[in-house]
Amino acid sequence: MSKGALLVVEDLKKYFPVKEGLLFSRTASEVKAVDGVSFEIPEGKTLGLVGESGSGKSTTGYCVLQLIKPTGGSVEFMGKQLTDLGRESLRKTRRDMQIVFQDPYSSLDPRMTVGDIVAEPLLVHGVGSRRSRRARVRELLEVVGFDPGYTNRYPHEFSGGQRQRIGIARALALGPKLIVCDEPVSALDVSIQAQILNLLKDLQRDFGLTYLFIAHDLAVVRSMSDRIAVMQSGKIVEEGPAEEVYEKPGHEYTKKLLTSVPVPDPRLMRERKAERRRVASAAAG
């Protein structure tokens, strides 16, 4: 364990029980969603966690924030062992660690105004007066590029990209050190996705934020991350500096992932397709 890392995760495990029987249900087996995951993130850096659906990347993010209780392993954040913390001290620590969710359509309460959504974390943690909170909300919305004149509107009045800005403003409200970004752009169109990724980069630079950036899109992860961990079936199969993992992948699965991503280059795609056919016919013959 190196000194100076903001977040140190060691041998993290999350097993979900699989129940059988209706009346007297018993645990028949376990799904090892996260199975011995270790990594660390130095302050101000981004670790990209990439993998396909069901690989355990989101569960890892939730376990880091203690939104679900890990089955085993340790999560050390700002020198504190999160798994040992009691309810109240965990609540206080949450000021420093926040999350941005994938779906800006369902992660914002439709009955709350934009202003109330962004102010809620401040209210929950008893920060400031009514007036200072209102000023802080305007400031936050400006930071994320959302017109502060719209604080009394409701989320449904805005597009996906605008909603994701509201979600980011809310995550920033308490001045966190770590933000877990769980597929923050996968519900957005390419042109809007670029706006949000740029915003996240700017915020990191301006506020020294540390990101655990979870996504299935390999190019998106590459553009955001200093180091990248590739997950498959609950385990990290490869981890290293972003450039190294992508340009000299060491694990077969990483190679397979990288060559499966369609890129906007018809010639390269044709070569790859021909290669896949060669492999398939060689295997068949």
């Binding site: 390419v190 042109s191 990288l258 991503v261 280059d265 397709k273 896949r276």
Partner: protein
Amino acid sequence: MALLEVQDLQTHFFTREGVVRAVDGVSFEVDKGKTLGIVGESGCGKSVTALSIMGLLPQPPAKIVGGSVHFEGFDLATLPDKNLEEIRGAEIAMIFQDPMTSLNPTLKIGTQIMETMREHLGYGKDQARKRAIELLEEVHIPNAKDRLNDYPHRFSGGMRQRVMIAIAISCNPKLLIADEPTTALDVTVQAGVLDLLEELQEEYEMAMILITHDMGVVAEAADDIVVMYAGQIVEQASSLDLFDNPEHPYTEALLGALPQIEGAGIREGRLTAIPGRPPDLADPPTACRFAPRCPFSDRNDSCAKEEPQLREVRAGHWVRSAHPACERPREPVGAAT
């Protein structure tokens, strides 16, 4: 004559907020055995175009208010429902984005595959069953004979999409419309499904319309590409020409907004975002629809006053812009790759 000829198609939605011009004058052709990729962002009208061809739009609120859709000489836009039903599913088949919801969860896979053939081809039970097993084998589902009796929940996302494809090709359609067929799938599964579509296309000499938001997917699978923006075609070319020499500022910007997977300085760099968002199609500007977001347009331009027409800037390459790349004075282009 092309297999499918769409001429000046206009599909509008009549809503309380006004008339939404979802598809506003779209024309293209698809030849036998070829794949046309329609690419664009949400709300650009790509799916409504497909649904208009299939006659699957709820009317009202939708209505095809103009243009024609000629398929083997018949105009589908004006064909009575009864005749359309004979073509739909048999001659033209469609697969959708979400393989989780497009199969009926309460019916066995076999029943769902056989249904189409019994309806359109008049197959008996045994004949349909035999063909269903063959079809599952063709889409590379192992143990085809046993899997026929399974319900959809026993199949993974990729396998369900394979079942959907099996149903779609069961009547030997001449045209397959695939609307975001791999969007819900993981990348490693996506490649397999795209390969399968191409394999079947060769075998059955089927034409295909592939609708997607993913520039990589059209680069992989399409022969010709149509780029749509705000209900209109803004660029149309062969796949190679489109990616080698994108002409429309929107196409360039879309490609520029894609994060790169390889190269130097990716982490430090910023992506070329497109400012703003597409216009409201209930009240589209009378000028170029991309002008407010276009880096090459300014207020004194023709494109700020009148709508540019789709024109051929070189053989087979059509663009709807007053500022295609080939006509611009040389200058630092921010939006280029």
